[in-house]
Symmetry: C2
């Protein structure tokens, strides 16, 4: 009988009763709030912190990632939350409901922090982002990141760039005070979103191979270096088709695919993970933001000589209204192969990036992308789409 | 000095003065309202209906298509319009402005007729579609065509299926009466949109090769069978990458690409048209509708053994609202290669079809598409997108 060991959430109605029940119906024994202290891969058994030994034929590690904590005191104060899983979301919601929260501070300006800004403003919270760097979402180019800062400001979010965090203290007029290089900021709620790291504690204890990224090394079938031990999700690496290297890209859709493919292999219908191209998106107020492949810095790291260019066009044809869309393409100077793309705009960014993700998947060149056959109609784009314009322009530039 | 001979529209402000002027600035002599009676390809000269002879080194045929006329009398009555070019649009607009038009009849239910229904309802016209077949837009499957009929009806358009047209007569209470197998229909305005045929009169007169589709045969550089004679746009064929055959797919974006590529070749920087995959879209009231590749009937005609399946999912993730999206995939049973796709929904249809167009471009299989890396975020789709669901389901079925 297979085991499931984990922290399935119990206080939100949908997941409470139904998830464990569904597992049981499928013949899976569910051990909630059980922690594995160590795994003996040679013997094929896991030891719980209670001392109980669970033998296994196949072990799947889905240990996820841990949220990073900034240096400094006060991150254990009530009202300070990490953003990792559903349990955190439930606790944050409860805090918002029971306190007279009006002021929130988001620490970190990655895409999770950005999504939180919108959620907090929707709840009417005064919201401030404290960020160490000059611009948010490092994966996106400065030109696009500045559009995101403008969207934050249009929507009443204060964005404090180049700001060092000294810690959090109990406040006087407000429960919390966030101490920064720009002075103290009062808050009812502090969300910490400064990044994550793969949780590889058990894996290290088992002597599994850890990749250069710090995440668990796997093969295309999600097998680790130990026999019958698999890893899936935010704890392991994924093969990046564009760089040709194993990468750490902890994203929900990738985790789903890894889980499914491990399941197929374990269940006797093995299938290989074809890898990722690094497609990603998020919504920030009225903006769609998406990226795929490699940006110029990543391309250089992967050994390419990249050339890039930003094209600003219209997401739909002129007579149907102006909907500005920015598209940056990055290509390999020598071969003309697309290496990556970023897009931002009120509409149409994700559709373009998904199209270019399929193009990256197959290694298309700028010449091909400049004449790609897309479903043209004026409400959805021009006869020459921004994709064509951007590709032709970059082709002329390289 | 190159010539441009054509019917550039003169009564709408933007195009009136500026287009000929721009041509002249570029050193191109513009002959408006000039008709070429015949071309002597051996001598390299065109003869105008005025008798004037124009010698050429290079000739580009961009003779477009002619709108088909149904059988029956009355199509020359005032208030009856074909839908071909900007001049038609200007005449229709003028007619709408000067008459007390309240009742319109659209003859034909292709995508152009569908777009007209929305335009007419936006002007407050009572609108009726008269259609010979049972469902509109033959390229789309019945299940999706029925969604379009429902959208027409929700928006107050009467859709008369299986209706024979007998002709048009002058009316009594209304200027026109459309005579049909379901009785007479009064109208102030009748739009005829029963399809188009390539205009190959000059090409036939020159002895150029006409393809099996009835359009001018060209090569990848848009060369016809005569030296230094090119053809572009709705008068010529285009190579279909999925069927591997030359097809007649008269669409605006394809025409643009053909014109550009002919220009490059003529200008000494030859480039090959990589062909099309048959991507197409239109908006009909609140629905986005798009298709690419081959439908099952087209796939069979092209020699494949196709398998197809419709998946109904959600264009965005559940908590962000329900936005029903239908996606039909067609694949080759033997190889699992994608052959075509159709989508319909309030949002997200065009984005999916463009992604699948890029997949078709490179000949991806259902297995690859089922694990394609797309830019996931809940406002734009599920962790498993409808594309993944549809591909995996069809893969299990084949």
């Amino acid at each position: 009988m297979p085991y499931y060991i984990g922290d399935v959430i119990r206080d939100e109605r949908t997941l409470v009763a139904r998830t464990p029940e569904k597992f049981r119906e499928a013949g899976i024994e569910v051990r909630l709030e059980s922690t594995v202290a160590a795994v003996d891969a040679a013997q094929g058994r896991a030891r719980l912190t209670t001392g109980e030994l669970l033998p296994y034929d196949v072990l799947v590690l889905a240990t996820g990632a841990e949220s990073r904590l900034p240096a400094g005191p006060g991150f254990d104060l009530p009202g300070v939350f990490l953003l990792k899983n559903l349990a955190d979301a439930i606790r944050i919601k409860a805090h918002l409901n029971r306190s007279a929260c009006r002021k929130a501070v988001v620490i970190g300006a990655g895409f999770i922090g950005m999504e939180m800004c919108e959620a907090l403003r929707d709840r009417g919270m005064e919201t401030t982002v404290v960020h160490r760097g000059d611009l948010p979402v490092a994966r996106w180019d400065a030109e696009f990141a500045r559009e995101i800062v403008a969207a934050l400001e249009r929507n009443g979010v204060a964005f404090l760039a180049d700001t060092e965090l000294h810690g959090i203290e109990a406040g006087t007029s407000c429960p919390l005070t966030v101490m920064t290089s720009r002075g103290p900021i009062e808050a009812d709620l502090v969300l910490v979103a400064v990044g994550i790291a793969p949780n590889v504690t058990l894996a290290r204890g088992m002597g599994l191979r850890i990749g250069a990224t710090g995440a668990i090394g796997v093969d295309a079938q999600q097998r680790t270096s130990a026999p019958n031990v698999y890893a899936v999700g935010d704890c392991c690496e994924v093969y990046h088709r564009v760089s040709g290297r194993w990468a750490y890209l902890p994203l929900g859709d990738t985790a789903n695919k890894q889980g499914r493919l491990a399941g197929r292999t374990i269940g006797g219908r093995p299938a290989a993970h074809p890898g990722v191209v690094g497609a990603q998106s998020f919504k920030i107020f009225e903006l769609e933001t998406a990226a795929t492949g490699l940006n110029e810095a990543e391309a250089r790291q992967a050994g390419f000589d990249p050339v890039g260019d930003v094209f600003w066009g219209n997401a739909i044809a002129g007579p149907f209204g102006k909907r500005k869309l920015g598209l940056k393409l990055v290509a390999d100077r020598a071969s003309g192969k697309l290496l990556g793309a970023q897009a931002i705009g009120e509409t149409g960014a994700v559709g373009r990036i998904n199209t270019l993700s399929a193009a990256l998947w197959s290694g298309l060149t700028l010449d091909e992308i400049g004449y790609l056959d897309l479903a043209y109609a004026p409400p959805f784009g021009g006869a020459w789409d921004v994709i064509h314009h951007a590709a032709q322009r970059l082709q002329r530039k390289r």
